[in-house]
């Protein structure tokens, strides 16, 4: 199951991240998790929100350049070796991880990893074949609430 991630182009200037956050707050949209990738001149804000379609239209109406991509969420026990077990599933495949980020769930006992794969469908098959549980989109939202 893939999850919709919103990505937002931001200029690298003080205060730029505030406006999208304000807009989402005003629309009562919860940000489950976010990460900011930045360069010297610009940044890309990537986030998973409670209602991605509404968030997309709110942000676009405000003039932001937003795109949606499908990412894959995987839950792992938060202990040494949790991540490497997953990465090993992709050894000897041509599936590439473009980027990834993580957030804790269940009060820190577990971690949810968000992967942006170049081939998300093959990646999910591979994860399932390796016995790794892929988190459904509604569950991602719930994980953060727990």
């Amino acid at each position: 199951m893939k999850i919709h991630q919103l990505s937002l182009f931001l200029e690298n200037k003080p205060g730029r991240i505030l406006e999208p956050c304000r807009l989402l707050a005003a629309a009562a949209i919860d940000m489950c998790t976010l990460t900011l990738a930045d360069t010297e001149r610009f940044g890309i804000l990537r986030m998973i929100v409670s209602d991605w379609e509404k968030a997309l239209s709110v942000l676009q109406a405000a003039g932001f350049v937003v795109n949606t991509v499908e990412v894959v969420a995987v839950e792992v026990p938060d202990h040494p070796g949790g991540l490497s077990q997953i990465l090993e599933a992709f050894q000897d495949t041509d599936i590439n991880i473009e980027y990834m980020y993580a957030f804790p769930s269940e009060r820190g006992k577990k971690a949810v990893l968000i992967f942006r794969f170049d081939k998300p469908d093959s990646a999910i098959e591979r994860l399932k074949a390796s016995g790794i549980r892929v988190v459904e989109s509604d569950q991602v939202y719930n994980r953060i609430r727990e």
Binding site: E11, T39, I44, Q60, F64
Partner: protein, 445 residues
């Protein structure tokens, strides 16, 4: 000489105009009118008379069209020096209209029209609309500014005379422009190309599908624009985008217009006589060679302009146009000699930058050139707005876009310049002429 004020243009067909006249007939008409206008200027404009006298020239020394080369040039400085009315050849009671250009430096320049001149202008604009396929039955949204700027009223009179329904909406209030375009079933629009791009962008935000509207013709002028910009406009709407040329000093819009072949602009040369000169020496250039366009008004009374140096760089196209018009064509104006940016000794025109940026797939023509000076060295930064078409969530792709833009510019300009990707709307939109260059070089010294 004939005037046009009483002419009705409803149901106008371009074949009835001098557009298709045999060349010898046109040359004879031009010579007759040149003799008239030179005499008129000599008798009524003291600056022109003094200049002819100092060359020991008399109006009757003009015996053939080539003799025009003996006449002195008129420049923008002459208009400024004689501000406001010094070059008028008519007494004030005969003048029915004044327009003025927005002077970016110092005083504006003032131009005058008798009622016959307004008729000449209307005649030229009628033929321009006809050339773009606009006629009675069309609904024309005139989004050129009404006022001292010639664009608004020039297009208005022409569109009304041809029998179209004119919406004198003027510039600005973009949301209302889109509402009117949709609700009034607009078929043709007149504005600057950059403003039309802004309209397209806003329409998209408002979920108005421009492709589904009856709009089919755009007549764009008042600023230089590129072929890439035309492709952008035509692919993002269902219109044909035509270039119109004009300048206040000569008449306003209506000096030249594209035809259905969209390959060069026909000069309405029964009213405006074109020459191409070497901008450095003032020597006439052979047909086909690129140089500065010089225009002489052949039909105007209140303010005859003899060999006016437009500072626009173009060339006359030697081949006849397949449309059948015998009016000579100029290539679209890519640049004005005074719009040139000299950066680290290299000559650069905004239009070159525009073409290079648009050559990179998916980019939108919203850009601005920022010039600064750091430690005595000129720096150029080009700000380009990021669009949904080019945006990616991957840093690597965005950096590749940045590199591609730098590369495209380096190929086009022979100069390495900095690109800054900016958020949509970071660059201020103009309702008229786009401000492409911000020169802060003097401020930073």
């Amino acid at each position: 000489m004939s005037t046009h004020t009483s002419v009705h243009y409803q149901g106008f067909h371009p074949a009835s105009a001098p557009d298709f006249a045999p060349v010898p007939q046109m040359r004879k008409l031009q010579l007759d009118r040149l003799n008239y206008v030179v005499t008129r200027a000599y008798e009524n404009v003291s600056l022109f008379q003094a200049r002819l006298n100092s060359r020991a020239l008399r109006p009757d020394d003009i015996r053939m069209l080539e003799d025009i080369r003996k006449l002195p040039f008129t420049t923008k400085a002459d208009l400024r020096d004689t501000y406001p009315f010094g070059l008028f050849a008519s007494k004030m009671p005969e003048v029915v209209r004044l327009h003025a250009s927005s002077g970016t430096t110092g005083k504006p320049i003032v131009v005058a029209y008798t009622s016959e001149d307004v008729g000449v202008w209307t005649n030229a604009m009628v033929r321009c609309f006809a050339s773009c396929g606009v006629n009675q039955g069309d609904v024309v949204q005139n989004a050129y500014g009404y006022g001292l700027f010639t664009g608004g009223l020039g297009a208005h009179y022409g569109a009304e005379a041809i029998g179209a329904t004119v919406i004198p909406i003027s510039g600005g209030n973009t949301d209302r422009q889109i509402m009117v375009m949709k609700d009034f079933c607009v078929t043709a629009i007149c504005c600057t190309p950059s403003y039309f791009v802004h309209l397209l962008e806003r329409a998209m935000e408002l979920d108005v599908d421009v492709h589904s509207l009856p709009l089919r013709v755009g007549i764009f002028g008042a600023e230089p624009w590129s072929e890439s910009m035309r492709r952008f406009i035509e692919s993002h709407s269902s219109i044909r985008a035509y270039d119109i040329y004009g300048l206040s000093e000569i008449v306003g819009p209506g000096v030249g217009i594209e035809c259905s072949h969209q390959n060069g602009l026909h000069i309405l040369e029964d009213h405006f006589y074109p020459e191409i000169i070497n901008p450095e020496t003032g020597e006439p250039l052979e047909e086909g060679m690129e140089g500065e366009l010089v225009l002489t008004t052949l039909s105007k009374h209140a303010m005859p302009m003899i060999r006016y140096r437009t500072r626009d760089i173009t060339s006359l196209i030697p081949e006849p146009c397949p449309c059948g018009r015998t009016l000579r064509r100029i290539r679209r104006i890519a640049r004005r000699s005074d719009d040139m940016i000299i950066i680290r000794g290299v000559n650069v025109f905004a239009s070159q930058i525009e073409a290079a940026l648009l050559a990179v797939e998916g980019t939108l023509p919203h850009y601005q050139i920022i010039l600064t000076r750091s430690k005595g060295l000129d720096e150029m930064e080009i700000q380009v707005e990021v669009t949904p078409d080019v945006f990616s969530d991957k840093i690597g792709s965005m950096e590749a876009l940045n590199r591609n833009l730098v590369y495209a510019l380096e190929q086009a300009l022979g100069l390495r310049v900095a690109i800054r990707l900016v958020e949509p709307r970071a660059i201020q939109r103009s309702e008229g002429k786009a401000k492409r260059v911000i020169d802060r070089r003097n401020m930073d010294q």
